[in-house]
Amino acid sequence: MADLLILPVLVPLLGGLLATALPVRSALVGTLAALATSLSGLGITLLVWLHGDLGTVLGGWGVPLGIGLSADGLSAALLAMASLVALAISIYAGSYFAGSAQARHFWPLWLLLWSALNGVFLAADLFNLYVMLELLGLSAAALGALTGKREAIAANLRYLLVGLLGSLTYLLGVALLYTAYGTLDIGLLGERLGPTPIAATALALMVSGLALKTALFPLHFWLPPAHANAPAPVSAALSALVVKASFYLILRLWTELFAPIADIGAATLLGLLGAGAVLWGSWRALRAQRLKLLAAYSTVAQIGYLFLFFPLLASLPPGTARDDLFAACVLMALTHGFAKAGFFLAAGLVQRKAGHDRISELGGVAQRMPATTFSIALAGSALVGLPPSGSFIGKWVLMRGAFETGQWWWLPVTVLGTLLAAAYVFRVLSRAFGLEPTPLQFVTNARSEIPALLLAFASVALLGLAAGPVWAILGFGAAPA
């Protein structure tokens, strides 16, 4: 059964190869492969849900010679989110790129990206993770430049180079660990790793490389232009999924592999950078002139919240309170995945319809595209953290944790970030009205509007009203509140 862990990587890889070889049918091949990939990802999640953690070693050599794959609750939660969000993006992309020459370039790269994404979530080997990160970064940058516009190519060339620097820094840390401990398997390494200066250097190198890839303030400079200039389905994938892969890796390495040396001081540094991201990202989102740039800066801020959890996790002993914080951090990451994908897909429809995405000139969009505006409003409420969205619960647990550990200084950051988020979301919504008379039907283009709407809806209802499963799959007790 654990043999099946390879499927979420293998299926999109085969699909991507076939879509490359058959450019005329790439949309059909791509859609079918997307469906199969999504099913395989959800299947693995279901297996973890039913049977607990899964693990296998490829090639029949066992560790440390072979490469391990493993899926625990954290992997399964992110795999499920990625499967649903990427499926919605694929359906949207089928309509977005229909009849365009970009379709034959989009599908192969998109499936390779998806393969690498699932590969990151399932890998149990530090070098294998490096290969996955390379594939992820390369296909993401190529997809981001797909419009062929000058700004898009410049922004994504920078993204590619920054991503390479991040991967190489990560690889330097891996090389140190291998030299010192003689294995690349995360499980084995965890048993051998002690609080040595070498492990601390490796931690610093690997986390800074990954922080660069996940756009943690002040290493976020490459993200807004790259995400804002990509085609809408690609922006959604970059913001909702690709930055989550490196965040997932930081969370896993920090709380598992490097648990003996990742102390409160280092965690507070990450928390401070996160606080900077929340304030700066939200402020720049509020000042942004364009809808997609606003969404990109909002991603910078939302990544910041995830890092606010680190100092709190570091100062709590194992127990229910720490479990709650961990699950809340994962819940916020999942919610942001759904919400930001929905937001970007909807923003792409606005841009197509209006011919631009300048926020000040968006008057009347709400009446012309009710379903799209509704998606932006729903996703926006999840970004702000209004109840009943998943990020409301996340922020609630975050603030409670800050109270309980006496680290009150994270509270004003969270409150201020939330107020700024409310301001930038309502700034968009307030511009969207103003057309008289209110005409027409709710949905204007089902194939592209429904995926955006479902994603936005999921971020609010699925993860907010039913947060319990997130706690359950991570192996914790009941959700709070």
Binding site: I6, L17, A21, L135, A145, G148, T179, T183, L184, I198
Partner: protein, 233 residues
């Protein structure tokens, strides 16, 4: 002001480099713990090849190599998405043309040799593919606009051949109950040779196509000089 900043940056970078050097030194000074190299050599006989590098790349860590082939493909797809290929260079004079007529077949022959020898000595698919790629680059430089590559449909199949055969073999083994890329005893050698042969062709074609530098098929794209040459030999 700017010079001060540059100086400060330089000092900080030097400090960082010193710190890293110290970490490297400290790591190397450690008691040599368990290493994978001994283990890999100890089980070399079971891998179906006698070159330890090939054993690591195609057997112990075959999954990594499969994804490296996908990385190579993603790079080429990125190049193709940016536009059609430039027209290429003017046709070479008789001396160079005669030399190319010798070098290209020799490079292909040497590639085949490297592929075969990889089973027991330094060599293998990546080295062989690099030689094929070099042959393509030489053809392109000598004024062959297609660099010896076939038309777009065949070229697309060739660039996915390596990862394709690799993944299909892996998936086939999974479906027949051995586990993904777990070779059945006794068949490892031939399966590895099959994968490596496909990978050699794919790597050679991918490197050449990357050098050509744009989407195939449109054939006579104009470069800066506005000349286009589609003369076939």
């Amino acid at each position: 002001m700017k010079r001060d900043l540059a100086l400060l940056l330089g000092i900080l970078l030097a400090l960082l480099a010193a710190l890293l050097l110290w970490a490297l030194h400290a790591t190397l000074a450690l008691e040599p713990g368990p290493r994978l190299a001994e283990l890999a050599s100890a089980r070399l006989e079971e891998t179906g090849v006698s070159n330890p590098v090939t054993a690591v790349l195609l057997n112990y860590r075959a999954y990594d190599t499969l994804l490296e082939l996908a990385v190579l493909l993603a790079a080429l797809l990125g190049i193709w998405s940016l536009g059609p290929a430039p027209a290429g260079y003017q046709r070479s004079g008789p001396a160079l043309a005669a030399l190319v007529d010798w070098i290209v077949p020799l490079a292909i022959l040497a590639g085949g040799y490297l592929l075969w020898v990889g089973g027991h000595a330094p060599g293998g698919a990546f080295q062989a593919g690099a030689l094929l790629g070099a042959a393509g680059v030489i053809l392109r430089l000598s004024g062959e606009p297609s660099a010896g590559l076939p038309g777009e449909p065949a070229q697309r199949w060739l660039v996915v051949l390596g990862a394709g055969v690799f993944a299909v073999v892996g998936g086939g083994l999974l479906a027949s109950g051995f586990g993904f890329l777990t070779y059945p005893p006794g068949q490892a050698k031939w399966l590895i040779l099959l994968i490596e042969s496909a990978a050699t062709v794919a790597i050679g074609v991918t490197l050449t196509a990357a050098y050509v530098g744009g989407r195939p098929g449109s054939g006579t794209a104009h470069n800066g000089t506005g000349q286009s040459r589609t003369v076939q030999r």
